[in-house]
Symmetry: D2
Subunit: 143 residues, 4 copies
């Protein structure tokens, strides 16, 4: 069941041209939350050689949406995202871990932490959260 | 003077590999704030054909940083960004307009609105803000 | 008309027991936005003698809601608020100025700046924003 | 040790006149985070009989600050708070549970969930987060 849901999530990610452009992978989907990963490439950097904040922000947006999808299903709309940058991101890999913080009547709040890693050694770069709403089918009751 | 500052800002943007990958342009820099623009391309979309929220989030991050740079100078560090998605973004062009909302002792809050446009017709897609800190040179007084 | 809307807003504020406890006044309601004011009292402070951040946060919450009410009407629900504390608040008076930043199909984003004043001399203490939704009457069309 | 830190935290809370006005209690301080509680009173409500959003926002602000204090110590400055209102708060008691989400070099991000309870039955009302910085003593190294 969780395996099926993970496969669906991977297909959704694969169906996002922007996520393919950046090379995002969904590497975890379980009761603890979800993980997205991205290999750091030269064209994802900013002017000082760190991963561009916009890449982290994209990861945060996508990670909170997938995490919320664990409780809301695939028909969701991201309503907001916020991210606090704690340290510049440098390394081979950027990792975003997200999980649902709160969930009520078709709306979820998910938190996300972003790490940079070099050779398996990780450090925290950013933390934030997002709000996600379930889309109701036409005719379905609204909460 | 403002022309010089705009040129410096354009050079900073040009020095960001990720901004070149996405094709971001700085099209306005004046007393009212700054504008970033991006041509919509197939590889910037999500699975339903709208511009990926992560692209808007990247634009918000970059736009608030440049807007804050108008009052803080070029040596800045973005501390946080938040974005509220109001409508899916579809069109030829995405436009982010940002301006400083508040500014005190080396820290600024800037707001940003993001529009999608088709043939010059614009509509609002997202609104948010960010906080940016000035980096002090070693030995310089801290506010 | 604006005078009528201002009176309604003042009645709403007066109907909030918590706003009466704190002594909040609506002092401006016009095309530029709205202003809430609060006299600083000993029981509104924190442990270092500054106005408690929670008082500023309350003001931000209420100010963005009233500002959004200018475009959405009186039947609104505040969905979120965020506030960045820039300087400790000290003085005779705390002033929150809010205005709509963005507005679309029953949802508005409003920004707020909070100032502390002593003898008419103001300084900026905090800046933030909030999102507010219109409540639709049963049977009314949804945007 | 944790007992000592809890006592210090309770003294800080007791030293906040605004927290005494509202009647806030620190009821938990352990490895899982902290809890603040507030008895609902008539003068804490808004115009529809629910607990005023500003009360929840105050609780969020205070709860994230205390939670961050668990990792940063007592000399802290709250930099920002955000709160998503999920359901109106009605009941005898309002409960804010907060914990550190991320922590790095003198800066912490803490999350907070707010519940309303009647006779021991709780439901989730709001969720958010905040950023908190450690204040360094004069002459102390800055991270």
């Amino acid at each position: 069941m969780a395996e099926d849901a993970k496969l669906v999530a991977q297909q959704v990610l694969e169906a996002q041209p922007f996520s393919r452009l950046l090379g995002t992978r969904l590497t975890r989907w379980d009761a603890e939350g979800i993980t997205l990963e991205l290999d750091v490439r030269a064209d994802l950097l900013q002017q000082h050689g760190f991963v561009h904040g916009g890449v982290l922000c994209y990861l945060a947006d996508n990670a909170v949406t997938f995490a919320a999808g664990q409780v809301l299903g695939t028909g969701v709309l991201t309503a907001s995202v916020n991210l606090h940058y704690l340290r510049p991101a440098k390394g081979d890999l950027v990792i975003a871990r997200a999980a649902t913080q709160a969930n009520t009547s078709g709306r979820a709040v998910a938190t996300v932490e972003i790490y940079a890693a070099t050779g398996g050694e990780e450090y925290l770069c950013a933390a934030g959260s997002g709000t996600v709403s379930a889309i109701r089918a036409a005719g379905a009751p609204r909460g």
